[in-house]
Structure formats: structure tokens, C-alpha cells
Symmetry: C2
Amino acid sequence: MRYISPISLEEVLKKIDLYVTPLPQEILPVEECVGRIVAEDVRAVSDVPKENFARFDGYATFRPPRKGEKFIIVGENVEAGIKSSDKAVETRTGISLSDDVCAVLPLEFVEFRKGSLISRRSVPCGYGIVKKGAVLKKGEALLGKGDLIYPEYLNILSEAGIRKLKVYRKPRILVVPTGSEFVSGEKPEVTGKMITHIINDLGAEAFYHPPLPDDADKIGSVIKERMEKFNAVVIIGGSGFSKKDYSWSSRTKIRGKEVFRGVKMRPGRTTSLFTLGSKPVLIVPGFPLAAYTSTIIIGGALIEKLRGLTPRIGVIPVSRVRVAKSYRRIDMESHEIVFLKMKDEEAWPLNAENLREKLFLETLKFTILNPGGGNLRKGDEVTLYIRKSFSCPPL
Amino acid sequence: MRYISPISLEEVLKKIDLYVTPLPQEILPVEECVGRIVAEDVRAVSDVPKENFARFDGYATFRPPRKGEKFIIVGENVEAGIKSSDKAVETRTGISLSDDVCAVLPLEFVEFRKGSLISRRSVPCGYGIVKKGAVLKKGEALLGKGDLIYPEYLNILSEAGIRKLKVYRKPRILVVPTGSEFVSGEKPEVTGKMITHIINDLGAEAFYHPPLPDDADKIGSVIKERMEKFNAVVIIGGSGFSKKDYSWSSRTKIRGKEVFRGVKMRPGRTTSLFTLGSKPVLIVPGFPLAAYTSTIIIGGALIEKLRGLTPRIGVIPVSRVRVAKSYRRIDMESHEIVFLKMKDEEAWPLNAENLREKLFLETLKFTILNPGGGNLRKGDEVTLYIRKSFSCPPL
């Protein structure tokens, strides 16, 4: 067994930031940019809105309507711009209004009497109107470098006259499970399939490679050959420190450059990273729960860097909770990933006996304990983390 | 303008539950079931684990090791089952152990001395071993009807001998934007594209149809013709109550059956539902923010029902927050969707002037105010909701 010096999670993040480079940028139509990271600041090309518009279904008036006043209903929209202080023109939400419209009375504020309407409330000029440029002025900053494009941004980008965006490419990642027991068909390979789903959820595009045998030459040559078409590779299994862990040995066969070997983290301690040319090859443990945490936490940071973001711990802090049970840590030098089960507003740490619960929680909610701290004691406050995507759990 | 009687959100959920039927079930290989809803209870076919296994990289012993005791290191795994009380056999995490192994000493608990190891701690029998069936016994309940399959379930399902699952089909939903201004190219159509992304995020498969003109006959005939290949249709725009809102009029042309017309909800009040044969056609407003809330909240419930779940409000409550600013409501009879901006742990309601902020929050976080309540006053506690998928925002 080889002795290695695992590094801390903080060092892992620094190394990823140093050794992994963001993917090239590309210019795409706005609607194809959802889920991508913006590569340069974006400013509005035109005012938003371009013209005044009505905020409600209702009636436009040409002077401030007072409570009890009567208006004659004319036309169906005000684009014609009928100026008349005793008339009201039907509007629909979002309809363009000419400059002479004073206010829009919402449907709720009117009563009808023989083709006329009575205003049930007094409203000031400007009421119910969104003015040209009120949302955004031409030239105003709209998005900044590093922003993620959500689907709900599409409309305002379009209204601001933006048709294309410069974004980072989406990482293409090859997932390579290893293990002769999978090649022979003795056991079905599923950890790699799980990791493929999780990598997709993390904002990259994962491609599943059939399992490779426990053979460093074979693993190395496949990685080297397939690498060209991908931005990164994730090898699953054979990550450990024994002679039988061939994934790391494959690195020397293809002259990959060591970035780190082992992380002070449990589960996931044997996670390692090397580069081939400029491309990262991440090795995660074969044990499913360890593969899961390695991929989310370290793979997540790697993907963030490739996508044009600053790598951070690949999970999201959602709230502070108090643990309802004590938890004994094994390794005081490692970051410990503790899975929590939420029950009646209490957080119960799951120990290893609860492997089933760990894998079966509606969502895996966990906390990361930094090395050096004491055991987790009942009533201690901890930060609850969830993984970045797939679903937002009820907390 | 036609007078209608919008219904409450609670009634909407009841009507969806009554008029929309879950899709047929299908049997799929487990790894294709991620994101699907299980259609029947699932029990373990075999014990998990099938055999005792090692919890750590370390050394297996055949009697309880005491602090300071010396063991001779032999072999590389214990599958051979070497019974010897003075020997220790190298193990790797997850490796199978024979019944005669007493304990596994983790790497951290050992010191090495000339091919032997010294135990740095005393551990009892059973330490470091996950026993056959400890996680799950054959026949034990594993999943229940209505459970969502997460990627992290794949391994345990596989270990429990489950290769296929009966799940509900994934809804295929046609998204049909309407508006002659989009057909003519006067304005680019993007709301439909936004909705397509959101429907995908909600667990269905969305298909985008090019925009249709404001023409009830045309809209009706396209819906009727295309409906056959989809489980539901979402029409965008023309949902209002005026003569110029053709989407609802299209219903009579094709003899669709009214389920509801208008919802007591702002934004999104004109959202309506009809059925054609047994299939639902949802009409959401064209105004982007209203289309957004309608799709998430009502479309979300509709999709849940199609997927085999009980329809609920299509958002997730994440925490209770205090608002930092008062918010004046327009319509005291409607559910009001208030968008909140989180800043320094304060929740700021965004009013309609902040349309840009509404559309540009890193994530749209909102609360739903039930009708009948008072205005939202500074310091009031409200439940913060986020939408179901796409991303989990930091709170």
C-alpha cells in the first residue's frame, strides 16, 4: 500500500482554479444560452419597454379619473390615440399606450352602466402605465460576466434588443466506470450511470463509456484515445492506494501530470486529479456514496471552472439546523460529509448503518464538517447543504 | 368584454385532480427511470448487501484487535478466508469479507513495522463490517407508489436485485405561442421558448410549436390536429376576456370542454383550462411574468397529475422570511404572487416598477398571498417559495 498525502478541500479548489482552464467562448442566439455562463458584460441595446404599456386589463383614460366619474367606453385599444377627457378605451395587459393616455383603470376599479363605466376609485396620472424605459434604459447594464442564464431572462433580453450572447461552451465529459466484474457482466454497472445523471445536472453534458477492466494499460489507452473529443474525463473506481487500484496507475502509462492524489474528505478520500495535455481527468472512488460526494463536491467545482465560473464547493448551503443526535467522526483530519435526515424540524445525522437511508432520502441533504472540529453533538448547529441541481427539496 | 368567474387556486387543484388523468404506466430498465414516478410499491428481491463487506480501506482481523497488538500482514484480500488470529489481511472499501472476519481496522488506526502492523486502537468484533442484509432485507419495502426516482437510487435498486420498474410515462407537452406580431416577425417570440425550458424543468418533455396568428379557427384546428401526439397542450397568449383574445375562443371551434376560466391569482389571472377528448389544454397569459407564474403554479400541478402525483401548488416552500418593505396589493380577492429579493437576510417585495428585478433575480423567489389577508407590512413573516427545478438557489 502506497502512502500518500491527501490535501484539504480548500487546496483542491485552489488547484482546480490553477490547473483547469475555462472552455472557449462561443456566440449563440439568446434562446440557446439557457443554462450557460455569460462571458462578457451585456448592456441594453434599446429601452425596455420600448413604448408605454398597460399594466392591467382595464380602461385607459385621458385625465386622472376620480371616484364616481362616468366615462364613455370607446374602441378596443388606444393605439389610435383618441384624445377625449370623457372617454375610456379598453386596454389589455401589455398593450402599447400612446403618450396622451393618463391612467389605466383596472377592471376591478370600474362599474358598468349602459355602455359607460363609472370609476370606483380615484387614481393619479401615470397609474397602471409602465413608461418607456422604466424597466431598463438603453445602455444600462443587463448581465455581467459570470452570470448564469435562466429561462426567465429570455424575454427581457429580447426586449432589450439582445439577440446573441457570448457564453462559455458547455463541458462535454466522458464518464468511464472501471471494474472487471462489470466487464464480465458478473455485476451490473450502475454507479457510472448515476454519475452521468449527476454531471448533467451540474451543467455539463455527460457521455457514458462502457466499463473498462482493472487494467492500467487498457484504461490509459482508452482515456488517451477518447480524450480528444471531450473536455474532461471522470474515471470511476480503482481510485484507491493499493496495487489493485489501476485507475491511478493508468496516469503514468499515458504520462498524465499529477494535480492531487487523495483528498482529506470522507467519503471520497481517494479522489484524485491529473491532467492530460490541458485536460483534467478526475478519478472518483467506486463505492457509490463516495462516488456521489466526490462528483458533487469536487466534480462540481471542476465543472464550474470549465464553465467559466470560480470553482466553489459544489453544493448549496440552504439553512442552519440543529442536530438531534450525536455523531462520532472517524477521521479528525478529514472533511467529513455527514448526511442528515430532516424529521420534525430536527436534523438527524445518519451513520453508516443507515446506508439505505443515505441512498434513499428523498434528497440527499448533507453537511460538511471541517477537519479539526470536535464530534458533532446533539444540539450543535450545522449548515445544511444540498446538491446543486436535479431538484429543490422541501426543507 | 365578457364577465367571468375566476376560481381560487385551491379549486384549480381540485379541478385538475378531477379532470386530468395520470398517463399510462410502462416498465423500464431502472437506469432509464431517473426523474420518473414509481407506479407501484417496490420490494427488495435480495439482501443488501448480499455479503458482508468492508467499510474502510484497512486491515481485516480474525479476533478483536486490542491497542498495541501486532499482526502479520498477509495477502491482499480476504476472499480466501485465511483464518488466523495473528494475521491481518489488507482490505479495500466495499470488498467482500468472509464470515470469519471479526473486524476491519481502518488505515488511520494502524502503524506499520517491518511487514507487520500495530493496532493503535482496540475495536470490538463487527467493527468496520457492513453485514449481509444490514442495509435492506429481502422482501423489505424499498420504494412506494408516487416516489420520484433520483439518480442516487440506482445503486441500491441494483443491489436489491431490481432491474426494471413500473413508472408513469413522461408527459409530452406541446407549447403553442400565439400572436400575429410573432407570425409576421414584427416581434421575436421568446415567451414560448422560456415556457418550453420551464416545462422541461418540471419533469415533462416540451415541444415548441412556431407561433400561431390571432385567429381562433387557425388555433383550434392546429391544436386539434397536433393534439394526438401529445399528452397536453399549453397555449400562450390570447388568454384574456376580450374579443381579441382568440385562444379561449378556439375552444368552442373544436368543442373543447371548459374546466375553468380564469383564476383568482395575480399575475396569471386569465389562465384557463379546457379538455379535448381526455387531454388538457392550458391557456396561459402572453405577458411573460404572468406566463411564468401560470406555468410554474398551474402548469406544474397539471404536470404532476399527468406524472402520477397528487397535484399540488407547483412551487416549493423553502423558509419563512420577514419582509423589509410594505407591499400594497391590488386585488384583495386573488392570490397574489409577490416576488421577493433577498438582501442581507431581508426579503424585499418587488413591485411592478421593478419588472427588471423580477425578471433578473438570480432566481425568482416568491411568496403566494392568499386572498382575504391584509396588505403585506414591513416585518410580516411570509413563506418563501421557489420553483421546483432548474436550480436550487442559495437562500
